[in-house]
Subunit: 214 residues, 2 copies
Amino acid sequence: MNSDMLVRITRYYRALNRLRAIGLEKVFAHNLSDAAGVSAAVVRKDFSLLEIHGQKRGGYEITDLIDRLSRLLGKGEPQNVIVVGCGRIGKALMHYSGFEPDGIRIVAGFDSDPIVYSDASHPVPVYPMSRLDEMVEALDSKVAIITVPESAAADTAEKLFDAGIRGILNFSPITLKPRPAAPGEIPAVVHNINIALELEQIFYQLQFPDGRKQ
Amino acid sequence: MNSDMLVRITRYYRALNRLRAIGLEKVFAHNLSDAAGVSAAVVRKDFSLLEIHGQKRGGYEITDLIDRLSRLLGKGEPQNVIVVGCGRIGKALMHYSGFEPDGIRIVAGFDSDPIVYSDASHPVPVYPMSRLDEMVEALDSKVAIITVPESAAADTAEKLFDAGIRGILNFSPITLKPRPAAPGEIPAVVHNINIALELEQIFYQLQFPDGRKQ
């Protein structure tokens, strides 16, 4: 499965969970096409590639589709995520409830500042960075969100890989790269979200419409 | 310029501003390759395509490069951004100082909740949604960040386009699309950042390394 198809499948999966939550039992390709921003023909083609077939009278059973996509996406494994850097953005993510429908749980925060990790008002426990190794193992967490200042980001990523973290979602403005995998090891994964860069691209695309991406 | 090259150019531009800030006057392709996550050969090829040539003894003048890339990226225009939805993520963005080096300013927030827009503790003025049209014009703002709850996102985007906003960075979990352009109008631009989707992709890529994107 290529990465574009993966993005679509995860979007279908999210949309299906929402449709089931509001009581629907059956879904049509065009319902899912809206959610994923593609045509209904693409949805049908994706499902056909995955050997998922609709019913004779049209449409798909939502529960059945969720089961199949869930297996395909490797759901069922613990998806415990930690947040490293509990400033404003880190705190906002710890409070965000929108991950739950996807089975993703923010289970802990980490910060180097005693004022931050001694504050009892956080929605999940916040630990000092010195307890990272111990807690990553105890929490069985493989994925971390980095929301530390730019100057601390590269060092934080190294500490996370050392502690056993394999996937990083990086909100700091520097571009982090995954640590090269040891022989036989599953490669680490890093996604960088650079908010300033996204805004700059938007300004650029508005000013020079010919260079815009679609 | 295609979108991959645009991303690299904006990364070079950011890196150059940081290098100048710490007192450097000259830069080499391999300095910039680190910042953009590409090889030095790609940096040289990009500059060659843009007809930017290094000095005889190697390297480029930072000030000169910044001037050229700045013109290329359309800097100098006002880059006033508004934040719509002043919950935890919206507030974190209003407080974030990392946009300034890129010439992007968050100039105002908007919220539908009187408790939020009456609160005087925000770092920029926060207005009720009813004043959107008036303030977007007064602030000469063309780009907005959406940080409203999912249920309000589509409606918010419509209101923003009606008010004259042309570019949207959407943090709500639904995928928003740009409104089709009227004849002769510059097409609107929407970037969607879906944090839950990014995390899901990371989990997927860790579980099925063959399907991962690079």
